[in-house]
Symmetry: C2
Subunit: 220 residues, 2 copies
């Protein structure tokens, strides 16, 4: 049986995509287990792909973990999008996402540590949380809810607060993560021009339960 | 000639300290040259110490560069201390240090990159900029200049802003670094409870020249 070159190309592309996805899934499992120091051979065995095919996709283990982390953060961003989809006030959308993301550092400590180790590079990522923060802050500006002259600087403040909160929570295990995340969200809202009393109220609203939005509505 | 054991111990301690200092100086030169990927052998040769003595002091190259960076940041912190020593308003002390530190990312890009790669770990360092920020914010609170309930969270916001500013400036080479650093300093002052008009004025004051304070007053 012969195939047209384009079909061969497509099949090869699909196989490459499957290999890459398997490597990323294996890396995500290792991140979740806090085992990011394993050798590449162990990653390729867990992914059930050949050792050599690793280097068709990634130059280093760090590059794979970064891609895996970006993909995790993008999924988390999609989850936050679903959880906040029904909220009308852009200030509350931003605060809700920040308050939930701030709670991740304790609830997913291994993910948090990989996030901290790749902290600033992730600010430049095209997927994940930073572009969503930019979108939400811009929506607040467009709605006249935020007085922010430079959206990139506002994202910088929010991302910096979220990352350094993670380090603070790891350094101070006795600290109340929810209270700290809510306080920082309130600070950010005030900095974006939301009146202090409103910022305080918004950051004390009950939070939606992210686990209820994990699926895509397919629960029976 | 015989020596008492304690003298031998002291001489050994001094030699160990000299070796460590030579390794750290070599690492600082490599950081300044943007050459942090050289093999350990090249570092020990530059430091003029034996390859084996490296492992008496550091387990990994990363550990050496982290120590070198902490030492650079501590020196920079001492410089900021001298530059701001004559300023009476604690809000202006904090703003001046932040505005100068924010300008480092462009003026010392290699130092900035190593800083970003070790971003969150440096928040927990005992020397360097984070403890100075804590001291300065606490001074503002004590003087009634800042209304900050949780100084650690305030340091978190300031450190996060400084680090993520670095990434933003690397990602947007055309951006005015001085304007961005001043704007973030103003945001932070407002967040710490300084009235908006004062925060604006303080962050537009002429900055002291750090190079004039590099020495310890020994210039003829």
């Amino acid at each position: 049986m012969t195939e047209a070159p384009s079909q061969q190309g497509n099949r090869l592309d699909r196989r490459k995509a499957r290999t890459r996805a398997a490597l990323i899934r294996a890396a995500q499992t290792l991140i979740a287990e806090g085992r990011t120091h394993v050798p590449i051979l162990e990653i390729t065995q867990a992914a059930d792909v050949g050792m050599g095919s690793f280097y068709n996709h990634f130059e280093t283990k760090e590059q794979l973990f970064e891609a895996a982390l970006e993909s995790v953060l993008d999924s988390y961003g999609q989850l936050l999008d679903r959880v906040t989809a029904e909220i009308e006030d852009p200030a509350e959308v931003f605060a809700t996402s920040f308050r939930l993301a701030g709670r991740l550092h304790r609830r997913e400590p291994d993910l948090s540590r990989v996030l901290l180790n790749n902290a600033t590079r992730l600010l430049s990522a095209e997927d994940g949380l930073a572009p969503r923060a930019r979108r939400d802050i811009q929506a607040g500006v467009d709605a006249g809810r935020f007085q922010v002259e430079d959206v990139d600087l506002a994202v910088t403040m929010a991302a910096g607060a979220l990352l350094c909160l993670g380090q603070l929570l790891h350094d101070q295990p006795e600290r109340d993560d929810a209270a700290a995340a809510d306080r920082l969200a309130e600070n950010l809202l005030r900095m974006f021009g939301v009146p202090a009393r409103q910022a305080h109220r918004i950051c004390r609203l009950p939070l939606p339960d992210p686990s209820s939005a994990r699926g895509d509505g397919s629960a029976a």
